[in-house]
C-alpha cells in the first residue's frame, strides 16, 4: 500500500465513509487510503518545501491530474530552489503496475530528457523520501493484513510479495478511520528492526478535503530526517490534460510560476 508517502498525501480525498457497523477488510481499507492519499479531487496543486536534516532544502510547485478513467495520473513538478535545480521541470505519466513515463527539462540547455525507469526505492531529489513515496507504491506489490482496529484507526501490516526487490521486510500503517488518511508508517528491515518512519504530522481541511500539510520521514539508522511542508494547496482547479506535455515542460505554465 502506498501510504508511506504522504508527499502527495497532500491530495487527500475525503472519501465519505459509511461508518456504521459494517467492517472493511484490509484490501478495502488500503484501497480507500490509496485514493485518499493520491487521488483527491480531479486535480490538485501545491507548493512544497522539503527541509533535509543537513540544512539543504528543495522547493517546488506540483500539479497533478487524474485520468478520466482508471488509475493513471499525470504530475508536473517545477523546481524553484536550490540553484542547481531551479527552473527544472519534471513530468511524470504514472501507470500503476507498470513503468512510469518520465521526462526532465534542463533549462540551461533547453533540453527535454527522457528518464529511464529507475529503482523506485531510491531517493527522491536527494531527500529521505523515496521515489515510490512520491508516486505511490502499487497496492498489488504487498499482502495486506488488518492487525488491529482502534477507536480511531485501522492498523495494517504490509508484507512484500517479492521481498528481494525491496529493502524492508514489512511495514505497518496507521490509517484514520474517519478520513482514511495514513497518519504513520513504520518500516522493519530484514532483521525485523524498525529503521524508517513516515508520519503525517499536520492535517488540515482544504476545500472540505482532509489534507496532509506537513509530513516527516525519518531514517532511524542514519538519524537523517526530511520534513515536507505544503502550502497553497488546492483541488479541482480545472488543470487541462495538455498542460502535461513537452510544450509546458519547455515553458512552465502560470500555474507553477505565479
Amino acid at each position: 500500500m502506498s501510504i508511506r508517502t504522504l508527499l502527495l498525501g497532500v491530495f487527500v480525498a475525503g472519501l465519505s465513509v459509511s461508518t456504521g457497523a459494517q467492517e472493511l477488510d484490509a484490501d478495502a481499507i488500503v484501497e480507500k487510503a490509496n485514493r485518499a492519499s493520491y487521488y483527491a479531487g480531479k486535480d490538485g496543486s501545491a507548493k512544497v518545501k522539503m527541509a533535509l536534516s543537513d540544512g539543504r532544502s528543495r522547493e517546488f510547485a506540483i500539479l497533478r491530474r487524474n485520468a478520466d478513467e482508471g488509475m493513471d495520473q499525470k504530475f508536473y513538478v517545477y523546481f524553484t530552489a536550490p540553484a542547481d535545480v531551479r527552473k527544472m521541470a519534471y513530468l511524470v505519466h504514472k501507470h500503476p503496475g507498470g513503468n512510469d513515463d518520465r521526462w526532465l527539462f534542463l533549462p540551461a540547455l533547453n533540453l527535454v530528457k527522457r528518464i529511464a525507469p529507475g529503482d523506485k526505492r531510491t531517493s527522491f531529489v536527494g531527500s529521505d523520501f523515496l521515489y515510490e513515496d512520491v508516486s505511490g507504491r502499487s497496492l498489488a506489490e504487498d499482502a495486506h493484513e488488518l492487525i488491529e482496529t482502534t477507536d480511531t484507526q485501522y492498523v495494517i501490516k504490509n508484507t512484500p510479495k517479492n521481498p528481494d526487490t525491496v529493502e524492508f521486510s514489512s511495514y505497518t500503517v496507521w490509517i484514520d478511520k474517519a478520513t482514511f488518511l495514513p497518519r504513520k508508517a513504520e518500516y522493519l528491515d530484514k532483521n525485523g528492526k524498525l529503521y524508517r518512519r513516515v508520519a503525517a504530522s499536520k492535517v488540515e481541511d482544504v476545500k472540505g478535503v482532509p489534507t496532509v500539510m506537513e509530513s516527516t520521514v525519518e531514517d532511524l539508522a542514519s538519524g537523517s530526517k526530511t520534513v515536507n511542508t505544503f502550502t497553497e494547496v488546492d483541488y479541482d482547479i480545472g488543470l487541462k490534460d495538455r498542460l502535461f506535455t513537452e510544450r509546458f515542460l519547455r515553458r512552465p505554465p502560470r500555474e507553477v510560476t505565479r
Binding site: 543537513d54 540544512g55 542547481d84 505519466h93 540547455l109 525507469p117 526505492r121 531510491t122 510544450r247 515553458r251
Partner: protein, 433 residues
C-alpha cells in the same frame, strides 16, 4: 548591432558593469526573479606542446539570470561577465562568438498569441533531437571549444538569435525556428585548441580564418520540427536549410575556411523498450553547394544514423550506449577530384565513420556527488574521447567539480585524434545565489 564588436576602453567597461548593476536593482524593485552564480574554473593541459598555452582555463565568471513571468508574457535576460586569463583578446566583446568579457546567453520574450501557439523572439538556446552528445537534426550552434576545454555543459549550447514559433494543433506539434542571420558553431579555431588543418596539426601558429555568411535576412537559416506522441513513443520529423555549422569547406583562392550550404532532412523516435529508453535518429545531409561531390574543397553530402539505449543497471547507476555512423555519399567522386588536382588522398576519411558511445552515471552521497563518464570510440578510425566529470554539491549554494577531456588515436588527421595534443583536466568552484 551589425556585428557586435564593441571596442572597449576601460570607461566603457565600467559603464557596462554599472548598467548591469543598476538593471539588477531595478529588476529587484519590479519583483522579478534574479539569480545567478559566481564561478572560478582552472584547467591545465596534460601534455607540453608548443602550439597552445599550458593553461587551458583560468577564468572567473559571474552569471546573472533575470526572469519575468507575467500573465501576458515571459521575458528572460541572462548573461555572463567573464574574466578569462587565457583568452588572447579580453577587451573587445563579440556577442556572436562569445569572445570578450561579456557573453549574452539569453535575451528573449515569450508570448502565446493564440491558445495553440507560442512565440519566442530574441537570443535563446535551442535544442531538439534524441542523441547524447551526438547531434543529427539539432542544427543549432554548439560551442565545441567550451565543451572540450571543460566548461560546464551548459556552455556546449551557444545561443541563437531567432524567432521560434511553436504551434500545437491537434494532429501534431510544429516548431519553426527562423534565424535571420547564420549562427555558426563556436568552433575550434586553433586559438585554444589545436586541430588538423588538412596538412598538419596546428594551433596558435595557424589560427583558422573563416569567411562566415553574415548578411541579415540573406544568410538566414530555417529549422522545422513536427512531432507527436504515439502512446509512450515520441516521433519527430525534421528539416533544416542553412549552412554547415562548423567550417565545411575551404576557399582555395583565399585560403579561408567557409560554411557551405547545407540542408538536412531527418526523423527520430524515442520511447520505452524493456526496462529502459531507446532512441533512434537519422538524417540526410544535402551539401547542396557540392551535390555531386566533385568539389574537393567542400564537404560531401552524408547520411547519418544513430541508435541508442539507456537504462538503470543498478540502484543510482545508469548506463547509456549509442551506435552512430556518418556515411560520405560521394567519396569516389571526392577522391577522383583530389587526384585530378594532384592532391593527397591518404588522409581522406573512410566512407563510413562508425562510432560507439558509452555513458555511465552514478549518484552517491544522497545524490550530492554525481560521477559521470562519457566515452566515444570509433573502431574504424581507431580514435576516441573520454570525458569524466565529478560534481559535488557541498551545500545548496556551493558546488565543486573536477573533469577531464582526453582524446586518443593512432593518426593525426582523424576526427577525434586530431585533438589529442589538447588533453586537459579542470576543476571549478561555484557559488550560486
Amino acid at each position: 548591432m551589425a556585428i557586435e564588436q564593441i571596442s572597449s576602453s576601460p570607461p566603457l567597461r565600467l559603464l557596462l558593469v554599472m548598467g548591469l548593476l543598476s538593471t539588477t536593482a531595478w529588476l529587484h524593485a519590479a519583483d522579478i526573479e534574479f539569480h545567478g552564480f559566481g564561478e572560478y574554473r582552472y584547467g591545465e593541459r596534460l601534455d607540453d606542446q608548443s602550439l597552445e598555452d599550458d593553461r587551458s582555463l583560468n577564468e572567473l565568471r559571474v552569471q546573472g539570470d533575470a526572469l519575468w513571468y507575467h500573465d501576458l508574457f515571459a521575458a528572460q535576460l541572462k548573461g555572463d561577465l567573464v574574466c578569462d586569463d587565457v583568452a588572447a583578446d579580453r577587451d573587445s566583446i563579440d556577442l556572436e562568438t562569445g569572445e570578450g568579457f561579456f557573453d549574452l546567453r539569453q535575451a528573449n520574450i515569450l508570448i502565446s498569441p493564440l491558445s495553440w501557439m507560442d512565440l519566442k523572439a530574441g537570443r535563446q538556446v535551442l535544442t531538439w533531437g534524441t542523441g547524447d552528445l551526438v547531434f543529427i537534426n539539432d542544427q543549432f550552434p554548439k560551442d565545441w571549444q567550451s565543451f572540450f576545454l571543460g566548461r560546464d555543459v551548459e556552455y556546449l549550447k551557444a545561443p541563437s538569435d531567432a524567432l521560434f514559433v511553436s504551434m500545437f494543433p491537434a494532429v501534431a506539434n510544429i516548431d519553426v525556428a527562423y534565424i535571420p542571420r547564420f549562427d555558426a558553431d563556436r568552433h575550434i579555431t586553433g586559438e585554444r585548441l589545436s586541430y588538423w588543418n588538412g596538412q598538419a596539426v596546428v594551433g596558435q601558429d595557424a589560427v583558422l580564418v573563416t569567411d562566415r555568411p553574415n548578411d541579415w535576412f540573406e544568410d538566414d537559416e530555417i529549422a522545422v520540427r513536427v512531432y507527436r506522441n504515439t502512446g509512450a513513443f515520441e516521433l519527430a520529423l525534421y528539416g533544416y536549410h542553412g549552412y554547415w555549422k562548423s567550417p565545411g569547406g575551404l576557399n582555395p583562392a583565399t585560403g579561408q575556411w567557409i560554411f557551405p550550404g547545407l540542408a538536412v532532412y531527418g526523423a527520430s523516435a524515442r520511447g520505452p523498450l524493456g526496462n529502459g529508453i531507446m532512441h533512434a535518429e537519422a538524417g540526410y545531409y544535402d551539401s547542396f553547394d557540392d551535390r555531386d561531390g566533385n568539389n574537393p574543397f567542400i564537404n560531401n553530402s552524408e547520411a547519418r544514423l544513430l541508435l541508442g539505449y539507456e537504462r538503470e543497471i543498478a540502484a543510482d547507476l545508469t548506463m547509456g550506449v549509442q551506435y552512430y555512423v556518418e556515411r560520405m555519399l560521394d567519396r569516389d567522386e571526392h577522391i577522383a577530384a583530389l587526384e585530378s588536382m594532384a592532391m593527397p588522398i591518404d588522409t581522406v576519411r573512410d566512407e563510413d565513420r562508425h562510432t560507439v558511445t558509452l555513458r555511465l552515471t552514478y549518484l552517491a552521497m544522497n545524490q550530492n556527488l554525481v560521477l559521470s563518464c562519457f566515452t566515444r570510440y570509433s573502431p574504424n578510425e581507431k580514435d576516441g574521447y573520454v570525458k569524466p566529470t565529478a560534481t559535488y554539491k557541498m551545500s545548496d549554494r556551493w558546488q565543486a567539480t573536477l573533469g577531464g577531456n582526453i582524446f586518443f588515436g593512432d593518426d593525426e588527421h582523424t576526427f577525434l585524434s586530431q585533438f589529442k595534443d589538447n588533453n586537459n583536466v579542470d576543476g571549478s568552484v561555484r557559488l550560486s545565489f
